[in-house]
């Protein structure tokens, strides 16, 4: 990928209004929501570097701070899984480094102008990872972190799958296998516009069992959409079992290559490796980053376990989970 211009200023720098939840119910245990672990590390709204590129550089230098952001995101995920309706814990935890790296270091986005025409677009095709996305959008400054206290609150916008009423969410997903086709559309539009903007689609591994993914993969490969990147959260588990125990996906890299993609395999919890894989120029083909992750990452007692998929955390479980994620991942 050639070096790129910073995001063009084309929109008023104001935060879009969040639709007021009609009859918002406060989560019963709101008082118990975790305090920010390290608020100082988070970019303060109103105190932003002038250009996104500059900010990216600044954030990259402060690598240690992004580790804190990742911890904070995990805390927020735990908080949302302690809501009355629970949350998709495991597949959100495995996404944390992927989304933190993308939003804080890779994507050309500006939280104050979420509709900027030349922004990069992220689509969370594995929509059930929404709470990770919400948490990262909040830490990135799209909206106040406190809004997440209203996760799943009746009448509110924070659905268990990405909802466009939430600032920063590009398109709704949740039925698996839709995101890559949407991404092809975005990438085609960018090509028609003569824009260098990118589209990154994040997929689950179980999700790859959907044929619609391969329709889109084949189209992107054939059209040579080199501004399109697919990140596969290869945590090895789907809802009820290991992917290889249900319908095997291996040899996964071969599949993507045979469909016309360049493949990069990385440790999906290593932000440095992710950053490299997500920024290194491509060779005229779309790029699939197979990110080897651990479902439930950060909670050692459920890591790699299928029961981490969805959890409704009680008080004790939440406390335990918060302690675990604050300890950090090795």
């Amino acid at each position: 990928m050639p070096p790129r211009e910073p995001l063009a200023v084309a929109e008023p720098a104001e935060l879009p209004e969040l639709p007021e939840p009609a009859d918002r119910v406060e989560p019963a245990d709101r008082a118990m929501l975790p305090e920010p672990a390290d608020r100082a590390a988070l970019p303060e709204s109103g105190d932003r570097p002038a250009s996104v590129e500059a900010e990216v550089a600044e954030v990259a230098e402060a690598a240690v701070d992004l580790a804190a952001v990742a911890v904070r995101v995990r805390e927020l995920i735990v908080g949302m899984c302690a809501s009355a309706d629970g949350g998709h814990l495991g597949g959100s935890m495995s996404l944390v480094e992927i989304l933190v790296t993308l939003y804080h270091e890779v994507l050309r986005v500006d939280p104050t102008r979420p509709q900027a025409p030349d922004r990069d677009v992220l689509l969370l095709s594995k929509g059930h990872g929404a709470i990770a996305l919400y948490a990262v959008l909040a830490t990135r400054g799209y909206f106040p972190v406190e809004w997440l206290d209203g996760y799943a609150a009746p009448g509110g916008p924070f659905l268990a799958h990405p909802n466009r009423a939430v600032p920063g969410v590009e398109m709704p997903t949740g039925s698996l296998g839709h995101g890559l086709a949407l991404g092809v559309g975005h990438a085609l539009a960018a090509r028609l516009d003569g824009s260098d903007r990118r589209c990154v689609v994040v997929l689950g591994d179980g999700e790859l069992q959907e044929g619609s993914v391969w329709e889109a993969a084949m189209a992107a490969g054939s059209l040579g959409l080199d501004r399109l990147t697919a990140v596969i959260d290869r945590n090895g588990l789907q809802l009820g079992d290991g992917t290889e125990d249900v319908i095997t996906l291996e040899p996964l890299a071969d599949r993507w290559r045979a469909f016309g993609w360049e493949v990069r395999e990385v440790d999906g919890h290593d932000r440095g490796a992710l950053r490299a894989a997500l920024t290194e120029p491509g060779t005229g083909r779309p790029v699939a980053v197979i990110a080897r992750t651990v479902k439930g990452r950060g909670l050692p007692y459920v890591e790699g376990q299928v029961r981490s998929h969805f959890a409704r955390l009680g008080e004790t479980q939440r406390g335990r989970a918060l302690r675990a994620v604050r300890r950090g991942i090795r």
Binding site: P21, D85, P154, G155, A160, H161, G174, Q238, G240
Partner: protein, 338 residues
């Protein structure tokens, strides 16, 4: 070792939850299926990573449980191939995935061939709650009842799930069974509380009259709509208006005779329909179509308003917000009779 036997013995299918409350229709169905599969080796359970069968031991029927992964089109095609080879496949997925994602396979592979596939579709209506519009199924009744050969069933409680599923196994053609997610109130208990005499047993293909009144017919399908109709009948009675309440669990084929007779019995051509579905094409539409064919009738629909329900909240909250409530049914009935 199969846990099917003991489990079935401990919790008879369709019975109340030992913990006290009613059981979710999909759990009732699962336990019954495990029991039936042990006895009938034509039955095959095809899963699509729903998690509904996690930890279930199919015992000697284990080779007839196949998790085909997250691929709903393939699921339907495989079911058709199995059915064409003499099996009776149960396909398990969510209602909207069956009705939209996999629809062409349902139409061409299953309905056109008139094969005995049972599509067991959970998360009907707004049961998915805060999972949002991608998981709501507010279109499925309209779609499924358009397909020739399809039988479309929406039980109103756990007990009816068991009975209707069992009865549906006798049918030679395909069945769409619309289930929910969480447990919903037990209908018999609700009727008992309301002091209404026992309703006739649920029979596939026949409207189930729940109570009789002389002024207006309330026709509903699915758990909360039927409860809303019953609640409305109570309130209407308080206002001196007699309401007949019909549980139209079989949406296709529609039991027009019973419906028509009920309307004729009131002497007033007014029906209020209640459903957890968009207003176009669902139960209200089926009732309007069928009655308008016979004689001029007013049919007022209580349904989820024509839009995507993109706010958080559980099924009951969303239904309340959408106005699928006893109060709305009362309003519409009163307006129509005015």
């Amino acid at each position: 070792m199969s846990t099917a036997g003991p489990a079935a013995a401990a919790v008879p299918a369709g019975a109340a939850n030992p913990a006290g409350g009613p059981r979710a229709g999909r759990d009732v169905y699962r336990d019954l299926l495990v029991e039936l599969m042990a006895a009938d080796d034509r039955l095959v359970c095809l899963d699509s990573d729903t998690g509904l069968f996690s930890g279930v031991d199919f015992g000697s029927a284990g080779d007839r449980y196949v998790n085909l992964g997250i691929a709903e089109q393939n699921l339907m095609g495989v079911a058709a191939g199995l059915a064409r080879s003499g099996r009776i496949p149960m396909v398990n997925t969510m209602a909207t995935f069956a009705s939209t994602r996999a629809l062409e396979a349902v139409k061409v592979d299953i309905a056109f061939n008139d094969l005995p596939v049972r599509i067991v579709a959970t998360h009907g209506g707004l049961a998915a709650g805060h999972l949002g519009p991608t998981h709501h199924a507010l279109e499925d009744l309209a779609i499924m009842r358009t397909l020739p050969n399809m039988t479309v069933v929406a039980p109103a409680d756990g007990d009816a799930c068991a009975r209707l599923f069992r009865q549906s196994l006798e049918l030679p053609g395909p069945v769409y069974l619309r289930l929910g997610r969480a447990a919903t109130p037990d209908l018999a208990a609700t009727l008992a509380t309301a002091g209404v005499p026992d309703a006739p047993p649920v029979r596939l293909g026949r409207v189930q009259p729940l109570r009789t009144g002389g002024d207006v017919v309330l026709a509903a399908c699915g758990p909360y709509p039927v409860l809303a109709a019953l609640g409305a009948a109570d309130e209407l009675a308080r206002r001196g208006i007699g309401a007949t309440v019909l549980n139209v669990h079989t949406v296709r084929p529609l039991d027009v005779e019973t419906l028509d007779a009920a309307v004729l019995a009131t002497g007033r051509p007014v029906v209020v329909t209640v459903e957890e579905h968009w207003p176009s094409g669902g139960l209200g539409s089926a009732v309007a179509e069928a009655l308008a064919e016979r004689r001029p009738t007013r049919v007022l629909r209580v349904a989820v308003p024509d839009g995507f329900v993109a706010v958080a909240g559980d099924q009951r909250y969303l239904l309340e917000r959408a106005g699928v409530t006893a109060a709305a049914v009362v309003d519409r009935a009163v307006a129509a009779l005015r």
